[in-house]
Symmetry: C2
Subunit: 375 residues, 2 copies
């Protein structure tokens, strides 16, 4: 990689502007040479390794943005190395928030990204011009048979994707196999009866030693992919699993909230749940929608969707999937905010529909049809 | 596992107390069944699965602590499953901070914990009754020969452990091998000359696909362990690597700061950098010491050390390793705050000593000898 190639990380920092610029200079040292500013650095290292901060630019809440250019070669070790470079020790500084990341084409070309993405999942499901409808199989403690029945009813009502709730976990591989087989059978039966593809995505969790074998079991069952929590399984481990099989990867934000629940440090949610999650190969990225019980604002949610769709090397666009406290009366708002390329994830309220999951799915599909009559 | 076994997670929440208790009730649903409170749950699930919150107890800053008991069986899937249970979606709620975690003996017995711990590392290094002295090989961009020379000089001055700076990364396995061999040779030579064991811990980083092979290479070179960043490599992946070999694991907090840099959400630093890091098998846990350039307070740092030493099933105690902005004049304070069972990590200021790393190491060892004359 030519030494002149640079990647850019943008930080939001506390003001005033001179203070933001001072802090950016410290970060540019911290994330590379990690020595005091008065360390006698050779010129080759000072010029060729240390990050180069630009000027402070006013941002929201009296804070300031500073872009730091780093040599792109420092991120050649992959996703983990990149995260270490742009938000390693910087994650421990008070008031530092990573808000943007611009990689070189060469670095981007090293990521496979979503295996299927927006177009691939549309083809797989035969769904055109409309949002997809997903639900979460739950609650934890429900029998395998009842989870399978819920999935089947949801598909009958027009649902596209039934995923395990991220709280559905299997302590043992034996139970994982039994449970997944049961729901996979019900899914295959319903799919055959309805004459259309229905997707069931089991939750890939458990000890690190078993993840590959569990994923292989899922694919051998004829299923197409999994739900996975990258912050728990590991970001680069998720990337590895996504890259090594052509599974559909639906990423769930469990355990990642500490990165973005507070506005004065961490990582911008659209960067974490949009760009970074797409980089690691998620076809679908679930995020806690505004207006539910979680912390994100409508602007932050729309930004996640924008990051899923924007050009990013040759990586396929991913599906933004708003979830959490979703209800039928919010359908027009969802349609307006996210357009057709969104995967609506409706859990509890759909399962609680007076007519059960089938009626619940139908009501949501009707709402989608009203908002997207061409779909 | 008997259904009656419970684990306890303690949260700090915003007040007033009724509000904290309401939020705790929501969390106890969110982290298990994840359905609205009015969902028609079967009694077996309501009583046997949903977490049981206790009363709100006043804590600092007008916040309140609530302990939630969960069935221990829900964490049978290992470390990832445990994190998902106690801080999965809860990580996305504003104002929620996980401050304590009390596991059952049965759950604790499933973790191997530190391979060597305090006693093992003392035996390995022949160091009794005194803190250990470590440095970081850097800056990034330095030639392999110069890094090796720095390590050798540090050992000659009395240093115990030279670790790679966490910013020292190798994009390719080939360069990792070349660099590590070079420094390992210098370490072995110096160790033979001095007639005492010296430890060099290379930074285990890079693509997930190569981590095991890189670790095996390190051990084959006769080295005893590695530096690793669990938040980047993955917490459960670090546990797997630690468990599968008897390497010394020195954990570095890179990329983990978002969990504890803000006091109103995330995870208590002593829980994350102490208990959790010990659970995943770290023999040494590096933390950003108070008074340096990072965010932690003296109380928080002492709490990390306390968590490293407190009883935790049969897990060995780990070494707390204060680092970041360490200087010689702080030696008495370090001795007082952390006692003999601490690993002092001194980077830039030691390397910058007027007499070089050898004189720097000697000055710190002298300070240690003054504070621990019996050591």
């Amino acid at each position: 990689m030519p030494a002149s190639e640079r990647l850019t990380a943008v930080y939001e920092l506390p003001g005033p502007p001179e203070e933001a610029e001072r802090l950016a200079r410290l970060i540019s040292f911290e994330e590379t040479v990690e020595v005091p500013l008065d360390f006698p650095l050779p010129n080759a290292i000072r010029d060729g390794i240390v990050g180069k901060p630009g000027p402070a630019v006013a941002a929201r809440d009296g804070r300031f943005r500073v872009a730091i250019d780093f040599p792109a070669a420092l991120a050649e070790g992959g996703l983990g190395t990149l995260l270490n470079l742009v938000f390693g020790n910087a994650s421990i500084w008070p008031g530092v928030r990573l808000v943007d990341l611009r990689l070189t084409e060469d670095l981007l070309s090293r990521f496979k990204g979503p295996n299927h993405g927006v177009d691939g999942l549309r083809r797989m499901l035969g769904a055109k011009g409309r949002p997809l409808l997903a639900t979460a199989l739950k609650p934890m403690g429900t029998s395998d048979a009842d989870l399978a029945a819920t999935a089947a009813a949801f598909f009958r009502g027009g649902g596209d994707i039934a995923k395990d709730d991220q709280n559905i976990v299997d302590g043992s591989f034996v139970h994982f196999r039994t449970r997944v087989s049961r729901i996979a059978e019900a899914t295959a039966r319903e799919s055959a009866r309805l004459g259309r593809p229905c997707l069931y995505l089991p939750h890939l969790s458990g000890p690190q030693e078993e993840l590959e074998a569990r994923l292989d079991f899922v694919l051998k069952e004829g299923l197409r992919g999994v739900l996975i929590c990258p912050a728990i399984v590991g970001l680069d481990q998720t990337r590895r699993l996504a890259e090594s099989r052509s599974a559909v990867i639906m990423a769930h934000p469990s355990f990642s909230g500490a990165f973005y629940a507070d506005r004065s440090h961490g990582i911008e949610p659209s960067l974490y749940l949009g760009t970074m999650t797409r980089l690691l190969g998620a076809d679908v990225t679930v995020f806690p929608n505004a207006g539910g019980r979680f912390a994100l604002t409508p602007d932050e949610c729309r930004a996640i969707a924008a990051r899923c769709a924007e050009p990013l090397g040759r990586l396929a666009p991913a599906w933004p999937s708003p979830g959490g406290g979703m209800s039928l009366d919010r359908a027009p708002e969802l349609a307006r905010d996210f357009g057709p390329d969104a995967l609506w994830l409706v859990g509890g309220r759909l399962l609680m529909s007076p007519g059960g999951p089938e009626a619940g799915a139908r009501a949501f599909r009707d709402a989608i049809a009203r908002a997207f009559p061409e779909g």
